[in-house]
């Protein structure tokens, strides 16, 4: 199953600052909810973990990522990542193409993502809807956290502004029509790399709402 979506967000910082942050896996990856870098292969390659919950289903993907086609002049590049669930329940591969543009508020970052799932996680047809939902929640959360982190890193205090993602579609049999899905009813992610958030303020205050995103529902 493939999910493709586009989203944009602005950061109150210069394109140089955002570029420096976004092209450094050690800084950028932890902004993805539940993601962390376990090993830096080189300047742009890394190994890592992503854990997430879809309702009662808890998955941990182990894999690697590579930044490529980095063009500092036009501030564009892409990230390719793939990984598989430690318990053999499926694999993912993702292609994220990002571009930056200077705007009065600072920097506008736009990201196009192609996410492909395989194995059991991709074979539950009723899950197609939730994969889209989770994927867009993840990206939106990623952009939020990234915006915050860039500011914390560059010491500027300002708030990132989220623009609604403009397109989401799941191709093929799980034939989901494109529709605007302004994420998100949800504040924050649950499985998230603590290191990535230690700088962030009010961590403990966030905890309750964090744990709700993918839910620690236990009854059935």
């Amino acid at each position: 199953m493939t999910v493709t979506f586009h989203n944009e967000f602005s950061v109150a910082a210069s394109t140089e600052q955002v570029w420096a942050f976004l092209t450094d896996p050690a800084l950028a990856v932890p902004c993805m909810p539940g993601a962390k870098v376990t090993e830096l292969i080189d300047k742009h390659g890394f190994k890592g973990l992503v854990s997430l919950r879809a309702g009662p289903v808890q998955l941990q993907f182990k894999g690697e990522g590579q930044l490529s086609d980095l063009d500092e002049a036009v501030k564009a590049g892409s990230l390719t990542a793939r990984g598989s669930d430690g318990k053999g329940r499926g694999n993912f591969s993702a292609q994220m193409r990002f571009r930056m543009a200077a705007i009065p508020e600072g920097t506008l970052v736009s990201v196009d993502t192609d996410l492909a799932l395989s194995g059991m996680v991709a074979q539950y047809g009723r899950g197609a809807g939730v994969v889209r939902e989770i994927a867009s929640q993840l990206t939106s959360q990623f952009s939020k956290t990234l915006a915050e982190q860039v500011l914390l890193k560059s010491g500027v205090a300002a708030v990132a502004e989220e623009f609604p993602a403009t397109g989401t579609s799941v191709s093929g049999a799980s034939d989901i029509p494109s529709q605007n899905n302004a994420v998100t009813t949800v504040d924050q992610p649950n499985s998230i790399n603590v290191i990535g958030l230690l700088w962030a303020s009010g961590w403990s205050a966030l905890k309750r709402s964090l744990s709700r995103l993918f839910g620690n529902s236990k009854n059935s």
Binding site: K218, N219, S220
Partner: protein, 290 residues
């Protein structure tokens, strides 16, 4: 399709359950197991600890007292379906349960399980919404009360912490004469609802809407109540205009699509079901007043 291994716990009392939930990581609570069982066999869910509620003595039971109904989380769907006094007070429960799974699964399935698993197509969460039920959630250090409309967080994700347990559901049946309807559409009997609409409706003498509750299941990632719409309908006739208004609300829903069914179709069906529900509820509301 065999479950992965886990440590099995079958506590006898509630406090043991809460203690386990506090102490152990990656727990899963087993109620009726009619949804969790398959997920364990598919290994979608692989808990380290399985906490079986089936031997806990004080989680089960239907109690009806001074205009309050209390359903213990472990009350079986079969018991709710067949309880005579509940059927008199809230016939919509047994009516909607005709759509829940099958004869054999209702023997095991529980209301607490349905609410906590929170499948978007599940019927009982939609019914609890209609009655503005209050859900009691406990952990080892206390409890909190969650209003039904704050229960659903996102897809199959209730407002429940890792260390918390849903213990019971409480609500007040409508006392004024009223009508009810629960209509659902699925591909086959007992299948996941493509859409379902529940309606409680009270009319005044002149046939105007005095009170109305509408909930929709199956259409989006969580069940929901058309609260805003309901308020606007008070004082109007349950006629085509009212319906057009309800349809408008349904058109605004962000519906989920999956491999089988598009969100557009779900909404289309929900519109049809809303019409049928309102019609049936009105008829019943009128005869209830005679």
């Amino acid at each position: 399709m065999k479950p992965s291994s886990f440590k099995y716990h079958n506590p006898q009392i509630r406090s043991e359950v809460l203690a386990l939930l506090r102490e152990q990581e990656n727990c899963k609570v087993l109620a009726g197991g009619q949804s969790l069982g398959p997920m364990l066999n598919f290994r979608f869910v692989m808990p380290d600890h399985l906490i079986d509620l089936n031997r806990v003595t004080d989680l089960d039971g239907i109690s009806i007292s001074d205009s309050k109904v209390r359903l213990g989380a472990m009350t079986r769907q079969k018991s709710i379906e067949r309880d005579e006094s509940l059927r008199r007070l809230c016939p919509i429960f047994s009516e909607s349960l005709q759509w829940v799974g099958h004869y054999a699964t209702r023997n095991r399935g529980t209301i607490g399980g349905s609410l906590s698993h929170l499948d978007p197509a599940a019927e009982l969460p939609g019914i609890c919404l209609l009655y503005d039920a209050t859900l009691r959630v406990e952990n080892a250090s206390g409890h909190r009360l969650v209003p039904a409309n704050e229960w659903s967080v996102s897809f199959m994700t209730p407002n429940l912490e890792a260390d918390e347990l849903l213990t019971d559901v409480e609500f007040s049946p409508w006392t004024m004469p009223h009508g009810h309807a629960f209509v659902e559409f699925s591909r086959r009997h007992g299948d996941f609802a493509i859409a379902g609409v529940g309606c409680l409706l009270a009319l005044d003498r002149s046939g105007l809407i005095k009170r109305i509750a509408l909930s929709v299941i199956g259409v989006s990632s969580t069940p929901f109540r058309l609260t805003g719409t309901e308020n606007d309908l008070i004082g109007y006739k349950p006629d085509d205009n009212a319906l057009a208004y309800i349809h408008q609300a349904i058109d605004g829903i962000e519906a989920s699509s999956d491999a089988q069914t598009s969100g557009q179709y779900r909404k289309r069906i929900a519109r049809v079901l809303a019409s049928r529900a309102l019609e049936q509820a009105s008829e019943r509301a009128i005869s209830a007043m005679q």
